[in-house]
């Protein structure tokens, strides 16, 4: 169906040609799924743009062919030779080949209705009257799982959740029944349970319409569950290609092997380390001294305690007639305690309240009720009661690592200024001390201190995240809240940063509160894990216990939705059901959570708690 032969694409930057693709060849047969795997910058998206004829203006196809067999006309066309704006190419684009993009929010126009945007390709490529077209669109929206497709036609993208937006995107690509669908990281921005549902949907539609799928992803778990054949790309070249079985059971190329070792898996041996593609070395120095375990003051109290914290947001929704408002309980009576020196994992899907909770702990948001107690070894500090000067002093004990390494660093400050800023704010040391400290911090996160005078834009995502970590360590805090620190990073870089965090925790005796939506990451780094859903903690257990014996239906749903990069553990697509897993009202008794029911934490085993209806006994759950 599609044959790419020795494709080469150049980008023109500052009047010189930079090769983006070199000698790329692969083919996709009818009804087949081919996965294009690689990290960002490997050229996989450029490949898809070349096939669609939507390369950016400064890119040109230098040589090669993209042969497409149009099943409708039976013609064989070389897309590489067509003018991207010609009528013939426009007919193929959207009519015979469609694409799903990664970011469902920015890929949809904010000011046009879903119905308008989804039906657009249909009216362009197929003969359909206005009425028929809207009917087909409604049917397609229903097909991709919109609960109320007639209403969805008139809704705008910002009124939909991320999962529904991606479904609208899929409906948009499928409405013309294309013979080839290109899915460019279709689930990267989504939660695991939604990811599983979207993958299931794509598979079903593919089987039904007999369409070929070119799946572009960096997630080996998705690859192993979706594809028939795999093409591995690195730096604009194809490294390795072949059937899924062969590649996964017997990877030949070093890059693929390295990639497979870098992915956190559930079956890692205790103490086994991930092997990043490029290892980094962290060094402590004179100012930031190594702390051994016995140097940590153990006063027998937890390091951080959250008691009964709640936060309600008031949401307003406008219409021409007025504004309705409703309350959203973002954090609902959450209690937890983090022990000194441990890594406490908080896992949950987007919107479950985990970031709100972290902000409450940092005192960036005022909770409606509840208590946050920090023990510094000598005394307990009530974080909510601190006045401004005490709060400033307290900030030195607890620091934060942010999710997005791009927006977390001020682009107008040099790395030196960024690392020095916390010291300046707290009036610590003179300029010589601050320079010494910044140098040590750079070594600590494995960066060359000579880079101190550079600006953030000259660093990669992983390096920026390390600068963010270094900044969090500048005040030598005891507790660090890491809010999704690796979710914006590539797999190989993710392993690097995770290892760094692990090492730092050990060497400096830090306590981590680690927030993530990625269960594999949490599994790799955390000692104890709390599972959060809709503002409540539903299950809390030491890591091994939680993964070996998950009790709560939500935890189980989360675990079963994770795609493993192992051929032996395929996703059970039949078990994936629509919606029920993350709706507390729909959980079976005794787990049901609605406004009326009283629930409590039931201790099943040492340290393993699960939220059940009041009065429930461990024996009731065995059944």
């Amino acid at each position: 169906m599609l044959e790419v032969n020795e494709l080469a694409v150049d980008f023109t930057l500052h009047h010189s040609a930079v090769p983006a693709l070199m000698d790329v060849s692969f083919s996709v047969g009818p009804g087949e799924t081919v996965a294009l795997v690689g990290e960002s910058g490997s050229g996989k998206s450029v490949t898809s743009q070349a096939i669609m004829g939507i390369l950016p203006a400064n890119a040109i196809i230098r040589s090669g062919q993209i042969l497409f067999n149009n099943p409708e006309t039976g013609q064989r066309i070389d897309i590489a030779g067509l003018d991207p704006e010609s009528a013939q190419m426009r007919q193929i684009r959207g009519g015979n080949i469609s694409i799903i993009f990664q970011e469902p929010m920015t890929s949809l126009s904010p000011v046009h209705t879903i119905g308008d945007q989804v039906s657009e390709a249909l009216f362009l490529h197929r003969d359909a009257s206005r009425q028929e077209g809207m009917k087909l669109t409604e049917a397609m929206l229903k097909h991709v799982g919109f609960p109320d497709p007639a209403r969805a036609l008139r809704m705008y993208p910002f009124e939909l959740s991320g999962g529904l937006r991606q479904r609208a995107m899929i409906a948009m690509a499928m409405i013309t029944h294309p013979s080839l669908l290109i899915a460019d990281e279709p689930t990267t921005a989504l939660d695991v349970t939604i990811q599983a549902r979207i993958l299931k949907l794509i598979r079903e539609l593919q089987a039904e319409l007999g369409m070929a799928l070119l799946l572009i992803t960096h997630d080996l778990g998705v690859v192993s569950n979706m594809s028939d054949r795999v093409v591995v790309m690195y730096h604009g070249r194809v490294m390795e290609a072949g059937p899924l079985q062969d590649l996964f059971s017997n990877p030949q190329h070093d890059y693929l092997k390295a990639l497979m070792h870098a992915v956190p898996r559930f079956d890692l041996e205790p103490g086994e380390r991930l092997v990043p593609v490029r290892e980094i070395h962290s060094e402590t120095g004179a100012l930031i001294k190594q702390q051994t375990a016995d140097q940590i003051i153990d006063s027998g109290t937890p390091h951080l305690q959250v008691n009964d914290a709640s936060k309600t947001y008031r949401l307003h929704r406008g219409s021409w007639l007025g504004t309705e408002s409703r309350d959203l309980l973002a954090v609902d009576r959450v209690s937890l305690s983090v022990e000194r020196g441990e890594c406490f994992g908080l896992v949950g899907e987007s919107g479950c309240g985990k970031t709100t909770l972290s902000k409450i702990i940092m005192r960036a948001i005022t909770p409606d009720q509840g208590e946050i107690v920090y023990h510094d070894g000598n005394r307990a500090i009530d974080v909510r009661a601190l006045d401004n000067s005490e709060l400033l002093e307290f900030r030195r004990k607890m620091q934060f690592i942010f999710q997005d390494p791009y927006s977390a660093l001020n682009p107008r400050m040099t790395v030196f200024d960024i690392l020095r800023e916390p010291l300046v704010v707290h009036n610590l040391g003179d300029i010589d001390y601050q320079r010494e400290m910044a140098t040590e911090l750079m070594r600590l996160v494995g960066l060359d201190p000579r880079f101190l005078n550079r600006y953030p834009h000259s660093f990669s995502g992983g390096q920026r995240q390390r600068i963010g970590i270094a900044r969090a360590l500048a005040l030598q805090p005891d507790l660090i809240i890491c809010d999704e620190p690796v979710s914006a990073l590539d797999v190989s870089i993710q392993a690097q940063v995770l290892n760094l965090l692990k090492d730092l925790q050990q060497e400096l005796g830090l306590t981590f509160l680690f927030i993530s939506h990625n269960l594999a990451v949490i599994h790799y780094i955390a000692n104890r894990i709390a599972v959060m859903c809709k503002g409540r903690i539903v299950e809390l257990a030491p890591r091994d216990l939680l993964f070996a014996n998950p009790i709560h239906p939500y935890t189980r749903a989360l675990l079963s939705a994770v795609p493993h990069p192992e051929l032996s553990q395929p996703l059970d697509f039949t078990a994936i059901t629509e919606g029920a897993a993350s709706e507390p009202q729909l959980w079976p008794a005794p787990f049901t959570l609605d406004g009326a029911s009283q629930t409590e934490f039931l201790e099943l085993a040492e340290g393993h708690f699960v939220r059940v209806a009041a009065g429930c006994k461990p024996s009731d759950l065995a059944a």
Partner: protein, 332 residues
């Protein structure tokens, strides 16, 4: 949304009230009042001053009362449609302003239409042909427009219009129509004269708008949803009109609030240079001679126009952009 519109209109009341106070204070800031500057003028011309008459006038106009009372008198008068009395012209303010206000509005609207008609296509061309010779050429012209002082342009244009088209210098119509009743010929004469002030007043605004539209559109053209549209196979023209232009419109509408006061205040100075029968020259004279009710009414008129302009642009924005109309904000 209905509540929003109501609230939006209600908030205009205190806004205008505060503006009226500011206007009044500003008018009163220079020392003395109209009568004092009138006496000074008479004396400098060597004429005698009738103390009794001055005393009578001062009482008549309430100038001997405290400031607050004068303000109250002016404010309540305005609410009843009485804008006070012009000392200079010895006429009620409404009669002095009358036609001039109408002509000002005509010039302003024409200028805004001119600005849009010119800025829109050029802005789109510049953005879609970024770094082409056309873009560079139009940008240079735009910068020239931004940098040329209005009054200079006015003089140059008047000269050329007179030499090549035989248009009479100054004014908005040929001299024989001034004070004549409205007729078709008078209207045509106005149109003949109108284009010069419109171009002169509009140039700077047009040039600025081209730059902003270009920058805005360039931003939008990079957005992912444009690529999505391209991937559907939309032809380039349709793609441009449906997605990026539609969103760039937002800023266009938002600019109305900005444009109105700019055009009107720009018009005042040009009007003096070109001796247009609009409000500009009178306002200047009224401020100089401390003809307080006349000046105050003018300033209030400007303020009301601005506040309304912003209201109109806000309402249009809500109509255009569903995120504003339907979206709500989460309270912290």
């Amino acid at each position: 949304m209905l509540a929003y519109i109501l609230r939006r209109i209600l908030t205009m009341i205190p806004t205008l009230l505060i503006i009226s106070m500011l206007v009044f204070v500003i008018i009163q800031l220079p020392p003395g009042d109209y009568l004092e500057s009138h006496i000074a003028e008479l004396q400098s011309q060597g004429e005698s001053v009738d103390e009794k008459k001055i005393e009578f006038l001062r009482e008549e106009y309430g100038l001997d009362k405290p400031l607050l009372a004068q303000y109250w008198y002016w404010l309540t008068g305005m609410l009843q449609g009485d804008f006070g009395y012009s000392f200079e012209y010895d006429l009620p303010v409404t009669e002095v302003v009358g036609d001039r206000l109408f002509l000002t509005v005509i010039i302003s609207i024409a200028t805004i239409l001119f600005t849009w008609a010119v800025a829109f296509p050029i802005g789109i061309y510049s953005a879609t042909h970024q770094y082409s010779w056309g873009d560079y050429g139009l940008s240079t012209l735009g910068f020239l427009g931004l940098a040329t002082p209005n009054f200079l342009l006015a003089l140059v244009m008047l000269y050329f219009a007179n030499v090549y088209f035989g248009t009479s210098i100054g004014g908005l119509m040929d001299p024989e129509y001034i004070d004549a009743p409205w007729s078709v010929d008078k209207f045509i004469s106005i149109l003949e004269h109108l284009w010069i002030p419109v171009i002169v007043i509009g140039t700077a605004g047009t040039a600025g708008m081209i730059r902003r539209l270009r920058a805005n559109l360039l931003d939008e053209l990079q957005k992912q949803y444009v690529t999505t549209g391209r991937a559907k196979g939309l032809p380039p023209g349709k793609l441009l009109a449906k997605y990026p232009l539609r969103i760039a419109l937002n800023f266009f509408v938002a600019d109305i609030g900005n444009l109105l006061p700019m055009v009107i205040s720009g018009a005042e100075i040009v009007a003096v240079v070109m001796s247009l029968p609009t409000t500009g020259p009178i306002l200047l004279a009224a401020l100089q001679s401390q003809d307080m009710y006349l000046a105050g009414s003018f300033l209030m008129f400007l303020a009301i126009l601005t506040v309304f302009g912003v209201l109109v642009s806000d309402l249009l924005l809500a109509m255009l952009d569903p995120r504003i109309r339907l979206g709500g904000a989460a309270a912290k």
